[in-house]
């Protein structure tokens, strides 16, 4: 497939990358490219300039702090997360990354790309919200942090706006997490997915694939009935499509929320 003509830049630093992104309206950051290159083929996106982040070592790697906090560079691949000894501090991260697509995509696709593309069927947006993550965003004016639950703004839209770059995803210490999904075939696109965490007070249950952004639900307890009731009370209005009618997605959201919370409870004990 021949893409539309595009300019390519390989910045030498995050500062250069941000400057390039800010200079041109039609500039897009190229992370793993496992989404962007495909949407460029389909002409669903036609950036004038792609700013390749692949050479930027400062965006790669996982650091585990003394308090158990994980600092994950935005350009860290799924495979690197799956295989990282540090990332095992929060085991759900590697477990979910191992369910994304296939070997080739996991070798190239990145955590930053997954959350910044914010396709509603992606795995990581609900997960980072459930885990209480924090996103660090760099722009020409400096750096700011945004809680994961405020990062996702709409389909394909996040708080990392034009001229900005997500640099780090910070995940606090914890372990009582669960994830449940109904994918189209093993490791396929999710029809509904739910991430849950019991660390830090009332359960954080986050439903993906049912709205433009991950939906955070806070049941009063981790009991099945409380979880099911809280998801029902959220009044989800999921899309209808060839894979599932809206009613079935609503049903799945409740069932998968219960499964995700049960998995989190098992890990807590």
């Amino acid at each position: 497939m021949l893409l539309r003509e595009v300019e390519y830049a390989r910045p030498a630093s995050v500062g250069d990358a941000v400057r390039l992104l800010a200079e041109r309206d039609g500039a897009r950051a190229l992370a793993g490219g496992q989404t962007l290159v495909n949407v460029m083929k389909a002409r669903a996106a036609s950036p004038d300039v792609v700013v390749d982040l692949n050479g930027l070592e400062e965006l790669k790697g996982i650091e585990l702090g003394p308090d158990g906090t994980l600092e994950i560079g935005a350009m860290t691949t799924y495979t690197e997360i799956v295989e990282s000894a540090e990332a095992r501090a929060r085991p759900i991260l590697g477990e979910v990354c191992a369910q994304i697509a296939d070997v080739q995509v996991r070798n190239r696709g990145t955590i930053g790309g997954n959350v910044c593309s914010n396709d509603p069927t992606n795995h990581l947006p609900p997960l980072v919200v459930a885990l209480g993550g924090t996103m660090t965003i760099r722009g020409t004016g400096g750096e700011r942090t945004v809680p994961a639950e405020e990062f996702f703004l709409g389909v394909y839209m996040t708080a990392a706006g034009p001229g900005e770059l997500l640099t780090t995803v910070t995940i606090p210490a914890g372990k009582a997490d669960g994830f449940a999904s109904l994918p189209i075939g093993r490791d396929g696109t999710c029809i509904v997915n739910v991430a849950a965490s019991l660390d830090g007070g009332a359960p954080r249950v986050v439903v993906g694939c049912v709205d433009a952004v991950p939906v955070l639900v806070r049941p009063e307890s981790a009991e099945d009935d409380a979880v099911r009731g809280a998801v029902r009370a959220a009044g989800l209005q999921p899309p209808d499509d060839v894979h599932a009618p809206a009613e079935y997605r609503r049903h799945l959201a409740e069932v998968l929320a219960v499964r995700a919370v049960r998995a989190a409870k098992e890990r807590a004990s």
Binding site: Y8, D52, N54, Q104
Partner: protein, 161 residues
């Protein structure tokens, strides 16, 4: 770092060095096939789903239709032409032949690269591990059973009934 619509890249493919000017919009698979005449890697779906274009880039398995050729500058690439030597098949290729692991053969280059990547990292994979390793490769003849058997045989294991 100034944005450019084309640039000169240097790559090593199967041990041979190449320097070529490529357009930024050219996908790596087309660079391999059209510019270097290495037509072993196939374009199956062009949407990143089928894996027929899989290659190793600096030792990492990926789909060459989801990478711009300019991104490969300075890397070392291995394609299906790089398997075996002096016209002889390697053990994995021979096992594919022995176990009828190809029907139309279109997916074979990608299957071989995925299976090579697996065996480099995991010399005696279980059947489940083999199946997951070729998850990103679609065989539209649906000949998966024989492909799994071939990988088992190539790794010196008993072949599933």
């Amino acid at each position: 770092m100034t944005p450019e619509t084309a640039r000169t890249i240097a790559v090593d493919v199967n041990g041979v060095s190449y320097e070529r000017e490529v357009e930024a919009r050219k996908l790596l698979i087309h660079f391999l096939r059209d510019d270097l005449d290495l037509t072993g890697s196939h374009v199956g779906c062009d949407t990143g789903n089928c894996g027929a274009c899989s290659v190793l880039l600096d030792g990492v398995l990926l789909k060459s239709c989801m990478l711009l050729a300019v991104q490969a500058d300075g890397t070392s690439i291995r394609t299906v032409e790089g398997l075996g030597s002096d016209g002889e098949l390697d053990a994995l290729q021979q096992a594919f032949a022995d176990h009828h692991a190809l029907q139309c053969g279109y997916c074979t280059p990608g299957m071989l690269m995925s299976a090579s990547w697996l065996l480099e990292r995991n010399p005696r994979p279980s059947e489940e591990e083999i199946r997951r390793a070729i998850q990103g490769n679609i065989c539209r003849c649906t000949g998966y059973v024989n492909i799994v058997r071939a990988v088992q045989a190539a790794s010196g294991q008993e072949v599933s009934e």
